[in-house]
């Protein structure tokens, strides 16, 4: 097929199945969520499918339900950076991206870890920067749950800016290694990074030489106004939640429209929302499979547990195939400091749930399926490929972060049946270019190392 120059290229990320109910462990083919072989299989399959990157979310504390460790869903995952480093050894081309918190890390350390990953992978490292401030996760860290909500994005923004400055602080040619003269390092090639603010007081000499990408790819998921500002200032990729077509187009226009103010063009930021898919030889077969998978993703006990989390009450006596409980939530004493807002939020949430359930006459289980197991693309491989292509050509997204429901085989079918059709359409790569970095795969502008980094915000 001849390449149509006006044709936009699709970018895909492969999301390793997570630790919530959408990952089905009851299927006989479901494998280990922690054995290295599962990660190796998943990443290599994604590499066969020529995906832009492998993506792994982060765990900082095991989920709890009503004061006890949650036991219905897959639980337990690896340290993000360590597993990505291990995967660098068994893959050759695919990007390696993981979620890492700006709250429970420090810039110098995280920048050296990501710089290390970029060296180890030959330029394939990426960082999904997230913020967090709650005391539940904080209880596992020196920092604790200390961060005011308002400071989350301030810290994240300063963190990202500091990381960029640390990565840029080594010139590409700083290492001279001249055995004759005895000069290893050109001291002018390494500059000090100083930063003095309310949140960071740093006077650093970075210790990881300039890595193949200059700086790892930065991904960002936040959707709030603060999140969009952060993304347009710092991110290379947005991992959004907008998959409904018109909504996705609106998000695309809004975010890409903000780039010019930062001196960036449309291609310098890619939008890759999370998407699920179910394939069938016919639409009917795909819909049937989608229903079966949804029922496995939302078992009766999953649905009841979901409601218990919202209501903060014991609903073990309720039937998941029956209507929503007609009781008030337990939101704690309303008079207590800080509880009034929470109380209102929970009530608003419940009233929304009731509204949807009533309008569509849904049982508890079907309501939760509707909320958590509503698959993005359901149909024949031809239909799914056409839809993915349409989203990209019509500027609703630049591609997708594809989430499978099984470990480690979740993306096998997509790789085997959908990818070739995307290639036939001329919108997807036929091979990896030798030596391409993740930045190259994503079609992002190169980073000049050693160049001064613009101070954001």
């Amino acid at each position: 097929m001849t390449l149509d120059r006006s044709q936009r290229q699709i970018h895909l990320a492969a999301h390793f199945p997570g630790v919530n109910n959408t990952t089905v462990w009851t299927d006989p083919t479901a494998g280990s969520q922690i054995d290295f072989s599962s990660f190796e299989y998943f990443a290599r399959n994604a590499e066969r499918g020529l995906f832009d990157y492998f993506f792994l979310a982060e765990g900082l504390r095991l989920r709890e339900h009503r004061g006890q460790i949650h036991d219905l869903d897959v639980l337990g995952r690896p340290n993000t950076l360590a597993i990505l480093a291990a995967l660098a050894a068994v893959t050759d081309h695919i990007g390696l991206v993981g979620t890492l918190s700006t709250t429970f890390n420090e810039p110098f350390e995280l920048a050296r870890q990501l710089g290390t990953l970029d060296h180890l992978s030959g330029g394939r490292a990426g960082w999904n920067a997230v913020t967090s401030s709650d005391s539940f996760h904080g209880a596992n860290f020196r920092r604790g749950g200390y961060l005011d909500h308002a400071d989350r994005y301030t810290r994240a923004s300063e963190f990202a800016e500091l990381s960029k400055r640390l990565w840029a602080s080594w010139q590409d040619d700083a290492i001279v290694a001249d055995a004759e003269t005895g000069v290893f390092l050109d001291e002018r090639g390494v500059s000090r990074v100083r930063h003095d603010s309310r949140l960071f007081e740093i006077d650093a000499l970075f210790d990881v030489p300039s890595s193949p990408q200059g700086r790892p790819v930065i991904v960002q998921a936040g959707d709030s106004a603060d999140g969009r500002d952060f993304a347009t200032a710092h991110a290379d990729v947005i991992f959004s939640l907008h998959t409904e077509f018109a909504d996705a187009q609106e998000f695309y226009r809004d975010v890409k429209g903000r780039l010019a103010a930062h001196g960036r063009d449309e291609e310098s930021l890619k939008i890759l929302p999370a998407a699920t898919f179910v394939l069938g030889d016919t639409l009917e077969e795909a819909q049937e499979r989608s229903r079966e998978i949804a029922l496995a993703q939302v078992r009766p006990e999953t649905a009841i547990t979901y409601l218990e989390q919202v209501w903060n009450r014991d609903f073990s006596g309720y039937d998941a195939d029956g209507p929503l409980p007609d009781v008030e939530p337990d939101t704690g004493p309303e008079s207590a400091q800080g509880f009034a807002n929470r109380h209102a939020a929970v009530r608003a949430r419940i009233s929304k749930l009731r509204e949807v359930a009533t309008a569509e006459n849904l049982s508890i289980r079907d309501l939760i399926i509707r909320l958590t197991a509503n698959h993005t693309f359901v149909g024949t491989p031809e239909f799914v490929a056409a839809e993915v292509d349409r989203y990209v050509q019509e500027r609703a997204t630049d591609g997708f972060t594809v989430v499978g429901h099984l470990t480690p085989h979740g993306l096998d079918e997509f790789t085997e049946r959908v990818i070739p059709l995307l290639q036939e359409r001329g919108s997807y790569r036929e091979s990896y270019e030798e030596g391409a970095t993740l930045r190259d795969l994503l079609g992002l502008p190169p980073v000049r190392t050693g160049a001064p980094v613009a101070v954001g915000g």
């Binding site: 462990w25 054995d35 690896p78 597993i83 291990a86 180890l120 209880a139 390494v190």
Partner: protein
């Protein structure tokens, strides 16, 4: 009968001599390339070396160096050791991977889950070399804490500096937390019970509720139990507080006797420390550190050493062995006879002296019956003769 020892290697940049990067055969431009490390550690693995330690520091200069940085004449720039070890996990077979872990700045929770993940990715070959304290340069890089030691006190003894004794207490807490988190999931916590719809048995996953002097950690690890459970904990020690630290917290201690004769004194000091503070029923294993430079002849070795020293004289804590592979084997024999458990060799030059170790020293020492055969045990702990243990929480449950 000759006493047998385990053999380990300590890897750092272009080697332990500061002028090593200028040697012919050095690869000073490859020190952060994955291929360089894969070849070095791969060679040690093939030769049957029991484990490799990987140096690290959270500053541009060497640990404890107070020279103004950046300095031009020394190797500068490195990779994070825990991540380097993780990278090496899937592409090595038998060798233990023991990265240096700095305990003052990093989050203990991240250190613990990183080491557990290394243990998963290497199928049970994870260790850690624990380093206490921080330098002024490290503190400036992090900018989070101003407390900490500034070099050694005038006496040279860390017990004379409250900042150092605090640093060792903190390092001890980090080890405690690493082990507790490694134990927090029992072996059989994941049940995948279709009958009840439960993925795991929450009675077999334990919040560690760790509350120390320096930090606290409430939850269980996010990482399910790895093949070894707690990784092999090692520490380098030269004097009484570090000996006590190792006796209390480590599985393996690296010591630096000036010669064979000085070893007995150190061993008895460690034994006394262990009597005082060790609660682990398993004996602390002792490895002697030797810095080695190997050439085909004694003259060639001396000439190489003289060339290095002229360029940039070495300051070191370890005994230096300069000579032929046979001379190194004689050193091994001498230290083996003192009853230590192992020898850790620090190659002066990389890759040259590591190649000499793998190609010459190991075969000769094996022939001479000085080295333990690889017992084929799947994990690093078992390979060194240390038992695998059930989670501490499992023990409690059995008695309940």
């Amino acid at each position: 009968m000759t006493e047998r020892v385990h053999l380990a290697v300590a890897l750092d940049g272009a080697g332990w001599h500061p002028a090593a990067w200028r040697e012919e055969g050095a690869r000073p431009r490859d020190l952060t390339s994955p291929r360089y490390w894969r070849e070095l550690v791969g060679a040690a693995d093939e030769a049957g070396v029991a484990f490799a330690t990987l140096e690290d520091a959270l500053s541009l200069g060497e640990r404890g160096s107070d020279t103004a940085e950046p300095r031009a004449d020394r190797v500068r720039g490195r990779l994070d050791a825990v991540l380097l070890a993780s990278y090496l996990g899937p592409v090595t077979r038998r060798i233990g991977l023991v990265p240096t872990v700095t305990t003052t700045h990093p989050e203990p929770f991240h250190l613990a889950t990183g080491l557990q993940t290394l243990d998963h990715a290497s199928h049970g070959r994870a260790g850690a070399r624990i380093v206490a304290g921080s330098s002024a340069a490290e503190r400036a890089n992090f900018g989070r804490r101003t407390d900490g030691p500034s070099g050694l006190p005038a006496s040279g003894r860390v017990e004379d500096d409250p900042a150092w004794t605090a640093a060792f207490r903190e390092a001890g807490e980090v080890v405690d937390a690493i082990r507790a988190l490694a134990d927090s999931w029992e072996d059989d916590a994941i049940i995948r019970d279709l009958e009840t719809g439960r993925f795991l048995d929450r009675e077999r996953v334990h919040n560690i509720e760790f509350a120390g002097e320096f930090f606290s950690i409430t939850g269980a690890s996010i990482v399910p139990r790895s093949p070894q459970g707690p990784p092999l904990i090692t520490a380098l020690a030269h004097q009484s507080i570090p000996y006590r630290f190792a006796a209390e917290h480590a599985d393996v201690v690296f010591i630096t006797p000036a010669d064979v004769a000085a070893t007995a004194g150190i061993l008895s000091e460690i034994a006394a420390a262990a009597d005082d503070v060790r609660t682990d029923s398993e004996r602390l294993r002792v490895f002697v550190d030797l810095l080695v430079l190997v050439e085909d002849s004694t003259d060639a070795a001396n000439a190489a050493w003289a060339r290095l020293e002229e360029r940039d004289p070495l300051t070191t804590d370890a005994r230096i062995v300069i000579g032929t592979a046979d001379a190194v084997v004689e050193e091994l024999r001498g230290f083996a006879a003192t009853g230590v458990d192992g020898i850790r060799l620090r190659p002066a030059r990389l890759p040259a002296d590591l190649v000499a170790i793998t190609d010459l020293v190991v075969p000769l020492a094996t022939q001479a019956g000085i080295l333990h055969d690889d017992n084929g045990a799947p994990t690093l702990r078992e390979r060194l003769g240390l038992p695998l243990r059930a989670s501490r929480y499992a023990r409690q449950e059995v008695s309940a």
